[in-house]
Symmetry: C2
DNA sequence: CGTATCTATTGACAAACGTCAATCGAACTG
DNA sequence: CAGTTCGATTGACGTTTGTCAATAGATACG
């Protein structure tokens, strides 16, 4: 079996024409791609991915003050990462007195997860 | 059932001590988090995610000249995105004469996919 | 009421990003 | 060989990102 049989352009386009039409189109539309890439982008930092890992594996809600010592960054940097996750919809938070408790919205990960599988 | 029972800090820390020890730790180690977030970051752009979608759904290898007209960006921008996907290991390419054919390395997506599921 | 604690916000900065126009290099065509 | 085509690279640009120090705001405690 010769895989080259599936390679489409065989010869150079003669004049000023583009070499070829697309023969394959995406299955995801622009809106889907934007939603999923926004989620992927939010997960595209090791600290944020680890935060989601911690929050997701934990049944209840986790206080920020328990999250800060897990990482080698300042409190304000961690707050910034949590905000990005909140803006992406991946996590949400709840104030209780002095403390802020964070938890994951698992539905927000589903579309990307399904696409990846 | 009162969910507040699971919230750990109940009262302010008295002196100069931090408010609480972490009660939950990540399941992913630093290296895993870095690998997976690098993949997520590469997918964190709608054009790149769509590129992976196109390449992945296609059995064979796809010529760059068929990819360019799918997007509203210049050829050099698309080449730049393909390079990022290559650098992340998600895709690879093969030259055949004038043309470059791209294809997905599905293994590179597996770790992130498994973590997300 | 004053002070301490916890979290979010602001401002600053260097690095990385997304984009384009222009150019380069390799390879094919005539 | 001369010209053309495809793709990658370079350089420039404005924007976004990750980080910290400093500060603000809300709440609790004494």
């Amino acid at each position: 079996m010769s895989p080259e049989l599936t390679l489409t352009p065989k010869q150079k386009s003669p004049n000023g024409q583009p070499c070829c039409e697309p023969v394959v189109y995406p299955d995801v539309d622009r809106a889907e791609a934007e939603r999923m890439s926004a989620i992927a982008k939010a997960l595209g930092d090791p600290i944020r991915l680890t935060l989601v890992d911690v929050l997701r594996k934990h049944a209840g809600k986790v206080c920020v003050c328990e999250l800060v010592p897990l990482f080698d960054v300042s409190q304000s940097t961690l707050s910034h990462h949590l905000k990005k996750l909140r803006d992406a919809g991946i996590v949400d938070s709840e104030r209780k007195g002095l403390w802020a408790y964070y938890y994951v919205n698992p539905e927000e990960l589903e579309e990307l997860s399904a696409w990846l599988s």
